[in-house]
Symmetry: C2
Subunit: 504 residues, 2 copies
């Protein structure tokens, strides 16, 4: 879950965002409270950072079945230490989730969402071992934690926990009650998180919440912030062509010299893949795939235009290493497509011999790893059904469609208290946030924003991080830029946010 | 280089082959000579087998740049020990080759071709470490060497060397002079072997030869033998689509969420691959690819029919793990296509994330490993040029065509002295060989059968082996079936062959 464009490219001193125009005054924290909390955060800085490093050293990676159930058990301990009255591991059909409550006797209750799993990492691509929790001084950026999970999502989450520790240590009551839900399968598409959210007592607790948020390092290198009003849904799956299922071709890799008389599952996969997108590879051609797309509203179009105006196309292209967008479209059109167009992407291809040089085999099996991003009002279930029907209609019913995870898109209104409060806290700190209509990436917010809860849900947080899913992912601990908050400042930001949520 | 069909499926007591009908009587070895040689081979059995095992333990794998130049230097030593007057490493633009001569003062001179490299091996797929040279008792087959290179091609080649040692040890002169050429890049398509064969002094020596042969374990489990009258040519290459070369899409793997605005090299590869074959994946669609195919002659058609009649379709299907041939064709038609149809095969696909589960990346590069088998009168150079033109014509000129090796098809007349002598030696031992018009696999015989040499070239040898390019490749050392020759018997067979070649 990441938004490199806004994270890396917001311009300084840009014009007031359309969304910001609507901001009311908010009751924020008292200077005295913040001063005391800041002092405590400074005092316990080393302890708080070590807590994060220890968490990094216990990776949970669902795709590799690594670090379970330890990851869930460790999270429960982190929550209890931070002051939650109750915290428990919640078993699911897959990796366990976590449910916790912190009753502060406050008027309002807020939901908090964590993920304790991280993306895979290939150590050979890293400047430091990805699970050591190394602190590296990045010139111009500051002392940073360079590790898998540094910013996605353990860094921001540990920073939020540090804020809770500060309330506890200074004897302050939280301004809001908290209901916590966490999962360990976010990076494989949250296939079982609904079992956590929909467990009767968890659902009942969440129904008492006004909104749900996830700690997130929202600042870009210049200090600016993006607020995401939603995210695309996603389906991750493997398309598997095999002699086994097909009934033609070999069941294992055989010598390639007999291709003249034996069918090839690899060619079958290529032919099936070819039908899924337009010739330029950019428009999904799955029958009926986009039927339920809800057109952008006038307000959403205006927000996209403002987003394009206030962010740097050149920096975005640089961050992706591209020289042009599809069809040579404009930056505003690129932003618009990222927020409104579904995709069908090849994550990976695997068949036969994959080592150095060649090997004369006719593979018995060929696999395409696919992710499909969907927008309102498309659903994961309907899109998967349409993919299967599309393949079956063309005679590719033997190609296995193995979905590993996925969920629907999520949307939260710019007029919701959650978004208005976020904007107010940033503005009170001199930051005019850019509104992002829809994150091109995905997170399972639909479980909160969709029925039966229908709650506002989003991300909040000061701080800077980057490299989610990439080598050398980092999260700034001590910022070299005064406009960007380091660990302690970001922790204080969560306190400001909780005060603002509680005081409305 | 392997022919599983004939190797595994010849029927016992089958009708007399069309080719065999034409066999004249041949002058074979004297019983006294063979008796003495057999006794010597029995006496030095352990030494001869250990020589083979030691060779196995020194693998040369071009694709992994492993075992060079040691492999070539070791082969030179093996040749000198076996009685060659001269043997030298021959440098090439790639891995070194070997040239050697044995002047026995005989009337006739024969060329011998070896490969000292072997195919890659994944130890995790083997019952024994592939480079240990382990001897395993295979029930119903006999004591066998299970190792990479056991039958392809060190086993048969070491057996031939054992025969030369026997001549030397018993003080017998070879019935023919030998000119030897060897290479260490056969498994990557012999990209530089022509530099060895065409070196002035090597070419001059080869021009004195009547024919060239490669030691080969030709017997199937029932003792029957196939004689190959030629082999398909091959081109091995990688098709590489990349943001780097394309100028669109990312240069490295990036987060997949931006597919809506960024082009995909992986989809580009799929679209380009789609144009190379028919919808069923079985007919090459490269513009003009088959223009130069020479139709089968009436004699070749008759040989294919005889081959189909005398081999078991059921056993062939079983050996490949298939239940039907392409288009549900008959066994005779399958044999015909294997000998007369060019192919375009996907050896492997590699793009983006290839590990367990999924990873949401948009790959910056996608690679298809391809082998193309060609038949007379197609050539490797012309076929490669046509592939490049085909891609360029469709706007895929940015897709890199990286050829790693390949060469033209090879054909030797059934009426040549080489083939007639082979058949006569087998028949003298009660084996009526099946004639295979063209091996579906490949070997660089074109360097001998094509200009400027235009010599008959092929394979000869008793003995049994299987699993070339596959796990648990083996070569029988002590046969459980009296109809199948073990190491000593196969070595004696080479002596019989040399006598027959020398006595014509």
């Amino acid at each position: 879950m990441t938004d490199p464009i806004a994270r890396r490219t917001m311009l300084q001193g840009a014009a007031l965002g359309a969304a910001a125009l609507a901001m009311p005054q908010m009751a924020l924290a008292s200077p005295a409270d913040l001063k005391a909390l800041a002092a405590e955060l400074a005092k316990s800085h080393d302890t708080n950072v070590k807590r994060l490093q220890d968490w990094i050293r216990l990776p949970s990676i669902a795709a590799e079945n690594r670090g379970y159930p330890e990851g869930a058990e460790h999270l429960v301990k982190l929550l209890l230490d931070a002051g939650f009255n109750h915290a428990e591991v919640v078993p699911t059909s897959g990796k366990p989730g976590v449910f916790a409550k912190l009753d502060a006797g406050a008027k309002r209750t807020i939901g908090v969402y964590f993920m304790y799993d991280v993306k895979q990492a290939d150590p050979s691509e890293w400047v430091v071992p990805p699970f050591d929790g190394a602190l590296v001084d990045k010139p111009g950026v500051g002392l940073s934690l360079v590790a898998r999970g540094a910013t996605n999502q353990k860094g921001p989450q540990a920073t939020f926990l540090a804020a809770l520790h500060a309330f506890k240590a200074t004897g302050r009551k939280l301004p809001v009650n908290l209901v916590f839900v966490g999962e360990g399968e976010e990076e494989i598409g949250s296939p079982n998180f609904h079992e956590v959210v929909h467990r009767a007592d968890v659902l009942a607790a969440l129904k008492r919440c006004e909104s749900v948020f996830m700690p997130f390092a929202s600042q870009n290198p210049d200090g600016g912030v993006t607020i995401n009003l939603g995210a695309k849904g996603i389906i991750e799956l493997e398309l598997i062509a095999s002699g086994e299922k097909w009934g033609k071709g070999p069941k294992t890799d055989i010598h390639s010299s007999y291709k003249a008389s034996i069918d090839s599952p690899a060619w079958r996969l290529v032919k099936a893949l070819d039908t899924l997108v337009s010739d330029d590879g950019n428009t999904p051609m799955i029958d009926g795939y986009g039927d339920n797309i809800r057109p952008l509203t006038a307000q959403e179009k205006a927000l996209n235009a403002d987003y394009a105006k206030r962010t740097s196309e050149a920096a975005a292209k640089k961050s992706f290493g591209v020289t042009q967008w599809v069809d040579n479209i404009s930056w505003e059109e690129a932003v618009t497509r990222n927020t409104s167009r579904p995709t069908v992407n090849i994550e990976g291809l695997v068949a036969g011999y994959t080592g150095p040089g060649g090997k004369t085999v006719l593979p018995g099996k060929a696999v395409a790893k696919i992710d499909m991003r969907i927008v309102p009002d498309m659903t994961a279930a309907d899109s998967l059904a349409k993919l299967k029907a599309h393949l079956a209609k063309r005679g590719y019913g033997d190609i296995e469609v193995k979905m590993s995870g996925g969920y629907d898109p999520t949307t939260t209104s710019i007029d919701s208290a959650l978004i208005k409060t976020q904007a107010a806290v940033y503005k009170a700190n001199g930051i005019d946030p850019v509104m992002n209509v829809r994150l091109a990436g995905s997170w399972p917010g639909y479980l909160f924003t969709g029925p039966p809860l229908n709650l506002p849900a989003g991300h909040f947080g000061f701080g800077l991080g980057s490299g989610a899913h990439a080598p050398n992912e980092f999260y700034v601990i001590e910022s070299a830029n005064p406009k960007v908050r380091g660990f302690d400042g970001a922790a204080l930001g969560y306190a400001e946010f909780l005060y603002a949520l509680g005081a409305r």
